[in-house]
Amino acid sequence: MKLELPSPRRTIAGRLIAFSVIYAVAALVVAAFVLWFIVATVVRQQVDQRLDLQIDAVRSALTFNRDGTLALSGNPDGPPFDRIGSGWYWQVTADGRHLSSRSLDGGSIASPPRALDWKRLLKGSPQPADGPGDKGEALHFRVAQTFVGGKAVEILATAPNVALTAPAARALALLVPAMLTLGAILGVGILFQVRYGLLPLRELSGQVSEISSGRLTELPQTEVDELRPVIGEINRLVEHNRKRLAETRLQFANLAHGLKTPVASLYLALDDKNDPTGEARRLVGRIDRRIRHHLGRARAGVSEAGFASSTHLLSRVDGIVQMMSKLYAGRHLSVVTAIGSDLRISCSAVDTDEVLGGIIDNAFKWAASSVRITGTVEGAMALISIEDDGPGIEQSRIAEAMKPGVRLDETIAGDGFGLSIAKEVAELYGGYVKLQARPETGLIAVVALPDARGDAPSLSS
């Protein structure tokens, strides 16, 4: 599995990973510090115990000679108190005179200043303190005030500071790589967790794209509870839009019927007797052209661009060609359709008919003997080329032919809106309609519509 680090802020995965990593690093730093503190405390306690034991040993060995001088009944200088300059020292002070460990080698250390602790003083238990040794080295002290033979005696035992810090430092040296390893394991875990956790969202996003490209008509249900309402809502919206579009279409159809039926009636009612100059019939013609123009514009407006659609191109073209073959049966045209049976386009069936109907009709209308329709895929677009061997259009007049309401030849039936509506609908899908002169004679119309398998270009609004 390939793990990609998404950019923070811009993606949910990025946000989750960034937050988790920062949190894990902070937790590891705190944990490392706490562990180090525990180790340092335990080491200090152990050193204190050792010093206290030494103080007890010295205290129990302490006696006074008959002359009142201090003496030891035994030798308490076990290692490391026997190593000169080791920092492990003990010293007994009474009446300004000292008894000290061998390690002090006859030297003496000053008792460090410390807060007066009555509790310890009364119990005779040692008090901690820090201070310099006889050579100025940093020492950790335990100092006990006690009475031996009725005399006040101060017993102190020291350990070098390094005996406290060295084990803690060693622990830290082990903790840091351990924490780094833990951090790395956590980091990988976070990546997998985010990836697994966001998998349903990624799937959802893929399915939404499939709806846009027409491979899905609705989102499939999911086992993820949190996404169920979202999926339900998206499906409801898609369905609502589809229904509204169908209703709007029906409204336009009814509007067309409602407007044009009386116009047709009026047109049939007028003849040379009641309209000798033909003025009324011309007016009816104008009304009809206006209605056609605005209904045509409205039809382009209710295009299904942006909705789920994956239309089998060949079956749509076959439907239109069958229709034209019936309409132009008397022309005996040879019709060749070369479109792959697997070619699907991201354009609804209704809009495909709207785009191709008028153009194929033109080809049949003008062809001298043959019409050829081919479908190819170029990049993300399916190119449908419709050729006829009719008179064609001069290159200079091609742009004019695409304008709404323009008819280059008034002798053949038509309203001149077909091509401009086809162009408009194709453009809504990010496609186009182009006319070009055929090298021999005739016209080639090229229609580009998004291929349903390719990455459709972004839809224009």
Partner: protein
Amino acid sequence: MRVLLVEDDADLSKRIAASLRAESFVVDIARNGEDAEHAGLTEIFDVAVLDLGLPKIDGVTVLKSWRSGERMLPVLVLTARDGWPDKVAAFKAGADDFLTKPFKIEELILRLRALVRRAAGHAASVITCGDLSFDAQLGTFELAGLPLRLTAFEWRVLSCLILRKNVIVDRRELIERVYEGDTDVDSNSIEVIIARLRRKIGAERIGTERGRGYMLRAGQ
């Protein structure tokens, strides 16, 4: 030629029917999809003019119902909708031609005649039977190169017979194609028309197949 005119707008259907009758068509009118479906499935018509936007049942559904009931009469779809999807849907349902409203009545008549002729299996617009010829596009008869003057009923019977020349046309079917649906038909009236036609084009041309019907032959 008997036409089923399916149009919900009373004014428009009245005008179309009047123009078609003036051209000797027999016109039955249905004002909604339900009546149209029933008429198309139960009666004999040479051609139907079908509006798509109909009350009760829409035009495409009516057409599908006729086709699934194996009614193969040619159908010209009359539509107010210019959009190609509606036209393609109508053709997929079995339409043979279409006209967009508004239209010229002459255009409708020409197309209906062409549809009837093609449905009868005649590729050329002029159908001949001996020296009798019928221009199915213009709806005119000629006998030995001279125009033949016929009444509306005579024209209906003769056009029906010449479209299926050398084939026995059932008497009942002939009556259905000649009289409008709500007409009281006298059972002898078709014989009267046949007799008048025999006088005009020659008795030997129209044969009577007893108990079955009539047949137009090329004659001597």
